[in-house]
């Protein structure tokens, strides 16, 4: 399958009816196969949604039903009434928004200075930040936890947020973008008496608006989905974020699959919707983060 080059279908062929027909047939087969694979890929998600709206008894019925015989939303009302799901939602929304805003703001400021202000030590500083790329924060989980604990920030939203702001990637991406902007643009505004902050926010930011939006969405999704750090730093049930929280209630449900899937669907809802609405932005952000743009 991998032997088909992307342009093979475009290649013009002399009018050989049989050859063309075979090529078309082959193309049709490949297309059908691709679509089938795509459907198979999303099927587990479909299956989760369908299970969540079945009555609990029907989920274990043999043979399984592909479409619910009766729609039953009681799993959703049950989980929202019997677990702190709403609270976890709020925790996730507030911390993810805070992380997104702060990551963008801090890295934008830092990258602007690194890119546009000629100060002593800036090359050195940039290298220091590049080192951060190589460092896996997971390896130093223990000292990070000890430190947060000493600061009294375990079970505290600040303890959840602060370490997630130490990501050098946004700085590097912003710096790359700012580097492409000619310095004359800023100089002109400075001659007119604009401060650096003004130059950044009224000239550079609008020029980078599209990457800012992409980065914001990708940062938000990553913060929302983060598991390891919130799992370690938050122990108080009420203060959990939703991806960590649902694992707690699910193990309590045992074999209640409709309820388990209802919690999964609820937790996935915001990021899936964000992706479906901002598809292009998400892909742009992912590419930028991977260093391909």
């Amino acid at each position: 399958m991998t032997t088909v080059s992307p342009t093979s279908t475009v290649t013009a062929r002399p009018p050989l009816p049989l050859g063309v027909r075979i090529a078309r047939l082959w193309g049709g087969v490949l297309t059908a196969l691709t679509v089938l694979l795509a459907l198979a890929w999303v099927f587990p998600m479909y299956w989760a949604v369908v299970t969540s709206v079945k009555p609990e008894n029907d989920t274990v019925a043999m043979p399984p039903t592909i479409w619910p015989q009766t729609f039953d939303f009681s799993s959703y009302t049950y989980i929202f009434q019997n677990s702190p799901l709403v609270r976890w939602y709020l925790n996730s929304v507030l911390t993810s928004v805070a992380i997104t805003v702060l990551v963008l703001l801090l890295s934008m400021l830092c990258a602007y200075a690194l890119s546009q202000i000629d100060f002593r030590g800036r090359t050195w500083l940039f290298w220091l930040i590049l080192i951060g790329f190589m460092i896996p924060f997971q390896a130093s989980l223990i000292p990070l936890f000890i430190f947060i604990n000493q600061l009294g920030l375990v079970n505290n939203y600040l303890g959840l947020i602060l370490p997630q702001l130490a990501a050098p990637i946004a700085v590097v991406i912003y710096k790359q973008f700012f580097d492409q902007i000619p310095t004359e643009l800023g100089d002109a505004a400075r001659m007119d008496g604009a401060s650096e902050a003004r130059v950044l926010f009224s000239i550079f930011l609008p020029l980078n608006w599209s990457i800012t939006v992409s980065l914001a969405i990708v940062t938000f999704i990553a913060a929302w989905n983060n598991f390891l750090w919130p799992f370690i730093v938050m122990n108080d049930t009420a203060k959990l974020t939703i991806p960590v929280g649902i694992t707690q209630v699910q193990s309590a449900y045992g074999v209640a699959y409709a309820k388990t899937m209802a919690t999964a669907v609820s937790a996935a809802f915001p990021t899936v919707i964000a992706y479906l609405i901002f598809q292009r932005r998400v892909t742009e952000g992912v590419m930028a983060a991977a260093g391909l743009k």
Binding site: L200, N225, P243, Q250
Partner: protein, 302 residues
């Protein structure tokens, strides 16, 4: 405060000095917020994990210097070697398969016209799900009694509790979850290959497999090696899926390095020993990145 407009001074050198100082102040104010957080929450813990690895600290960080005791213990600990081998096994099961599947799907998707965006979205969608959602969905699909997969195939394997199948099952779930990312990068890579090269080759009579091996593959190598590196680093740090699907079981068959460190640190309160595992993990990742970037550069030169 933030102005860098040159002030009027008598001599040029003084003016320059003032200007330089003002620039430095402004830059400092802009860099400082990020820098402080970066140093406190990334660099400091990284230095501290090295220091802790030479102590018998608990989870509060209090302990004594014990020299190389932790490292010697680690090397003699079968559980450590088990965790290291399991991590490598997981990497074997994910990195290359995920790359090949990603490339294959990218090639299939690129030749589509109208359905392209829809199909790409279908493959990418799992990537935006939280890990706990991914694991609960697959726990349900692969459930041994009522799961759809075993019903359709007639299998009776208890996927995540089976000593042989637990790791491949976690690897499979990981590929399902993350392949969209690879597809995206491969599509970007494939699109950046100039169509002129294909046309020239087609004029020379090359087609199909020939085009792929002599044009697509070599031109795609920089992206391929980037994808391999990103995955390699990510999979060394594997924790979430394993913790949620198998918690390292059955019989430590899926115990990986980070989970081992987590157990030692957070469950056994062996902060020092857990830090030693962390240091080893960090060293492995640094070495891998260094080797891989060498290879990547060579691929670029070729």
């Amino acid at each position: 405060m933030l102005k860098t407009v040159p002030g009027k001074t008598d001599t040029q050198s003084v003016s320059k000095q003032v200007q330089a100082r003002q620039k430095w102040m402004t830059a400092g104010l802009m860099v400082l917020p990020f820098l402080v957080i970066y140093l406190l929450f990334l660099i400091y813990p990284t230095l501290r994990v090295i220091q802790l690895s030479f102590t018998n600290a608990d989870l509060n960080g209090s302990g004594h210097f014990t020299g190389l005791t932790n490292y010697i213990k680690l090397l003699h600990e079968p559980t450590f070697w088990n965790a290291l081998l399991n991590t490598l096994y997981f990497i074997l099961l994910t990195v290359i398969p995920n790359t090949l599947v990603g490339l294959g799907l990218a090639l299939l998707i690129l030749r589509l016209r109208r359905l392209k965006n829809f199909v790409l979205a279908a493959f990418f969608l799992p990537y935006v799900l939280p890990v706990s959602v991914v694991t609960s969905v697959w726990n349900w699909v692969l459930d041994s009694n009522f799961g759809l997969f075993n019903f359709l195939t007639g299998s009776t394997v208890t996927w995540f509790q089976d000593p042989v199948w637990a790791m491949p099952a976690v690897a499979f779930v990981t590929i399902w979850w993350t392949v969209g990312f690879n597809i995206l990068l491969f599509i970007a890579g494939l699109q950046s290959i100039s169509p002129d090269i294909y046309e020239a080759a087609a004029l020379d009579g090359a087609s199909g497999a020939r085009l792929f091996w002599s044009i697509t593959w070599p031109n795609l190598w920089p992206v391929t090696s980037l994808i391999l590196l990103l995955q390699l680093i990510a999979q060394f740090k594997i924790f979430d899926q394993i913790y949620l699907l198998t918690t390292g079981g059955p019989f430590d068959k899926t115990l990986v390095l980070l989970l081992y460190s987590y157990r030692e640190g957070f469950q056994q309160q062996h902060g020092g020993y857990a830090s030693t595992i962390g240091v080893v993990l960090m060293l492995i990742i640094l070495v891998v990145s260094a080797i891989q970037s060498r290879l990547l550069n060579r691929g670029n030169a070729a």
